[in-house]
Symmetry: C2
Subunit: 229 residues, 2 copies
């Protein structure tokens, strides 16, 4: 039974990693479709979202069954409820990839406003945050998770610079406004993906250190759960 439970936990980790890999791929593809002005590529991202949504349902179900049938304690309990949140975060990232792809389709149908140079760099950091935050979760690496939270500032820096550059385009020529707005929204979507990865990193710290740094407050008394359970 115990061994069976740990196999099931491992399977849960594998499914989350698989879902994460799909989300990463969607973000990459969405940005590539923008850079290469390749709308069929963007359409693939929009279609692939169904699979990500199915992953969410399946993983949620898997977690509920583990909770119901195994009645895990302390650390494992925390791990499974965190997996449910992370699952939710990944699904939302998938939605952001779809939003980016939709904006890319719109932008690709019009003349190029400017060469796309900063967004791919910003996306690369955001995607690496998705991957690393999930790895931290699976490997229980709270230290690396803590470092990862700092990476969010880098992404915010890109978002700020992109915002100001696009503002200049908008004020220079009113014909630029609609396209600059679409690019701005892509930047906002990437910024949200980085935020969601930061949430995952915070969950990892929560699980492995049994305290939440989420709002720079100590969790009340989670160890109490362990001692009383």
């Amino acid at each position: 039974m115990e061994r069976h439970f740990h196999e099931q936990l491992q399977e849960l980790k594998n499914r989350l990693l698989e879902m994460g890999a799909r989300v990463e791929k969607s973000i990459d593809l969405a940005i590539e479709s923008l850079v290469r002005r390749d709308s069929p590529e963007a359409e693939k991202v929009i279609q692939a979202d169904d699979i990500i949504n199915q992953f969410e349902i399946e993983i949620d179900d898997r977690c509920l069954k583990l909770l119901a049938l195994q009645q895990p304690m302390a650390g494992d309990l925390r791990f499974i409820t965190s997996a449910m949140k992370i699952n939710n975060d990944l699904e939302r990232m998938g939605d952001h990839a779809v939003n980016i792809a939709e904006r890319a389709v719109t932008l690709n149908s019009r003349p190029s406003l400017k060469p796309i140079t900063e967004l791919p760099k910003m996306a690369a950091i955001a995607v690496s945050m998705v991957r690393e935050s999930l790895n931290c979760f699976v490997n229980g690496d709270a230290e690396k998770a803590r470092e990862l939270c700092k990476k969010d500032d880098e992404v915010d820096g890109y978002d700020d610079r992109i915002f100001h550059e696009l503002l200049t385009y908008m004020t220079r020529d009113k014909g630029n406004v609609a396209r600059a707005l679409d690019l701005l929204m892509i930047s906002k979507n990437l910024e949200r993906i980085a935020d969601l990865s930061t949430n995952i990193a915070e969950e990892v710290i929560f699980i492995y250190k049994a305290k939440t740094i989420k709002h720079h407050l100590n969790s009340s008394d989670l160890d109490d759960v362990r001692s009383r359970s």
Copy 2:
């Protein structure tokens, strides 16, 4: 023990409702501070976010303890894990209220671009969605939750109209761009709040109908959990 458990569940519902009421108030205040150009009001929203964050930590802790100490089955298990997700959604709404308040402070420091007429109407629907979705959760009203999901379209309609109106302002005069962008971002924040309320409504349907309409797919086989547990 059984009675004690149901008292604890009731207490959990009360805490979520209380948190929801605070989130509603923050959204209302943030929009009011914009309409009345009252930045000290906006500062109150920014300060009040700490309390919302503390609510999140406390409610999360409460849910974990219920899971660890009571080892609930089927319906109750589903209720508690959903409460954890809803808790997370409410905290994010609080962050969106803060974002609105920050934009309001920026906008209030500059001459008014236009009378603020549509955003308060949009906000009123979004706030009603927060309240109603939580009521559905507490009262187990899956039918009303299903109706609520449709309200999201109304909010999206506002977002579209506001977007196009602001686009006109931006293309008319480049001096309008920065302020119009701030207003646009406020609209996006309200739209996200409505989305998060829709998530809550979907969770309610999930709990009470034991199937997810989230992605228009049937959940695999949650009843299996009940039958095997």
